[in-house]
């Protein structure tokens, strides 16, 4: 087996003339949390369905945990948990009954089922409502039950489609906490989302999806370097001759760009955290330094900038 838990090569899906996924390459390492980002209709869900063997790819190969989902779907599905974007349950059945059904479908031995169902419910903190009908559950509870449902088979890889969609910020944070807990257990996770700060909060690496193509791939810092050119943005407030100050800032090695942003504010884009150097430069140029801030690039900004550029390129 290769070091990658999940590999896709030249994965392509065509619906008639429409190219939903276009020669996608993807590789995810064991224990990694990978975020699939992109606007609606970019092909995220189609990609996920192909990875699981729920939709047949038009072209290309997939290996999941060393298996081919098209030829060995049972082996893949027995080891991979999938949480669809709008997870549905049998509303007339209780939480426990819903999970028991899934356990039976997985062919888990009867004696083992109860233990696994209990453990999964415990993990998502639904033990107290285990005997309630799922029809009475709130959105957040359903989402957590969805996670419990995935955990029943004790998977090595979990694929989640928009796991925090429709959750309020508090619930979403709680859910992200659960995801982090899974990562600590060594489970590999692939999640798709368009809620960027959440992805940034849990993912080791992200892939930016656009029109069926994986446009960019890497850690958030790597993406920032690629898209924004610099990973750090330093904001400075200083009194003094504006031109002279921005000149001095521009001359610092590793600064990509420095400019005067009005009044007494300056912005510096840099490849490194250059706060000390910037302070020195301001003082040397005769300025009075008032404040100094470094802001790490957020995925939001990378995303916005990337799609802006993509739009320009297309136009």
């Amino acid at each position: 087996m290769s070091e990658f838990v999940l590999e896709a090569n030249n994965l392509t899906k065509r619906y008639g003339n429409f190219l939903a996924v276009d020669h996608l390459n993807l590789a995810i390492r064991e224990g990694e949390v990978f975020g699939l980002l992109g606007p609606n209709g970019a092909g995220k869900t189609t990609t996920i369905l192909m990875l699981l063997g729920l939709t047949e790819p038009t072209e290309g190969q997939v290996r999941v945990l060393g298996f081919d989902p098209a030829r060995q779907p049972l082996s893949v599905k027995a080891r991979t948990g999938y949480m669809p974007d709008q997870v549905g349950f049998y509303d007339d059945l209780t939480a426990r009954e819903n999970l028991t059904y899934i356990a039976r479908l997985n062919g888990i031995p009867y004696r083992e089922i109860e233990r696994r169902v209990d453990a999964a419910l415990e993990r998502v903190k639904l033990t107290e409502v285990a005997h309630q009908r799922v029809g009475t559950f709130s959105r957040g509870m359903r989402q957590r039950l969805g996670l419990a449902d995935v955990l029943i088979k004790e998977p090595r890889l979990i694929i989640m489609d928009e796991p925090t969609q429709g959750l309020d910020p508090e619930l979403a944070r709680e859910f992200l906490g659960l995801i982090r807990g899974l990562k600590e257990d060594g489970i590999t996770i692939l999640l798709s989302s368009h809620l960027l700060h959440q992805v940034q909060a849990v993912c080791d690496r992200v892939g930016l999806f656009n029109r069926g193509r994986m446009a960019l791939q890497g850690t958030v810092a790597e993406l920032a370097r690629q898209v924004l050119g610099g990973a750090y943005r330093i904001q400075i407030q200083a009194d003094g001759p504006a031109e002279k100050l921005s000149d001095a800032l521009q001359r610092i090695p590793q600064v990509i760009q420095a400019h005067h942003a009005g009044a007494n504010r300056f912005e510096v884009e840099a490849r490194d955290d250059l706060r000390a150097e910037a302070a020195e430069a301001v003082v040397k140029a005769g300025g009075r330094l008032l404040s100094l801030n470094v802001e790490q690039q957020s995925l939001d900004e990378i995303y916005a900038r990337y799609f802006e550029e993509a739009k320009h390129a297309a136009a």
Binding site: T45, T46, L49, L52, L54, T55, A70, R71, Q72, P73, L74, S75, K77, A78, T80, G81, Y82, P84, Q86, V87, G88, F89, Y90, D91, D92, Y101, I102, R104, L105, N106, G107, G146, D149, K153
Partner: protein
Amino acid sequence: MRLLERFTSTSGREGSPWTGLSAVFLKEMADHLTGARMRILEILILVTALGSVYTALNDIVSGGSQEFLYLRLFTTAQEPLPSLVGFLGFLVPLIAIALAFDAVNSEFNRRTLSRILAQPVYRDAFLFGKFLACLATLAVVFSAIWLLVFGIGILRLGVPPTAEETGRALMFLFATIFYAGIWAALALLFSIVFRSPATAALASLAVWLFFTAFWDIVAGLLVPVLGPKQILTIGDMLALGELELALARISPTTLYGEIAVILLQPVVRSLGLVLPIQLDRALLGSPLPLGQSLIMIWPHLTGLVAVTILLFALGYVLFQRQEIRA
């Protein structure tokens, strides 16, 4: 080349297509048996069964032939109630459709389908489990009615049923289950084709109504078109009769009706036209043995089973090709 690849990849797929079949079957069965829908159907069928058997009993006790008493429980009609067989011909399709019309599309609408298909089971097991559960539920219901009728009969008539009667009634039960199977398979097919359960139910009912009420009319219109243009010989007459019968038998309702007549009324010896020459040395009015009756309706029985399998197969193919994404 791609076709070949696809072929080898499906024929060489891993594991058994029946993995998880029992899990699906048991869950669906439990759903059917505990559902409110089932309660309503049970009450409906229980009331009609009791009503028609009660009137039949009155008729039998007040006199008439002493042969095949138990079969007469099924077939005796007294104004204003039709016989139990009449009721069944009408209720069986309704019950079968009611059980299956939302089998697949409700899973889709509840968004449970993608979750279930992400488990290590094939679609085969999912669909077949649902169909089997439907058929088993119908079998349970009809067997219960069958036993009820016999039970009431033993209590009120005071004579035990003969082996012949029991055999005939059992064969009739078997035919009833597969007659229900046809409508269940049809409703299941529509539940795959139509995303809305209401549309699927309406489509199934429309087909049922067509075959129950309108097919005779359509067949009547088709006979002069397809039949011999001029009737000159007795051969032409026979051909016309045969054609009429063949057309009528396209409807499963007709098939089931004929099966019921032959099985439950042993004196009936023919379904089609009978020439005087064929009646030579026949003992008119004496019952046929079970074996002979069976020979007469054997094609009907195979027809019922075959149509059930065909409809299921069609649904199966469509379901395999269906995209599951919402």
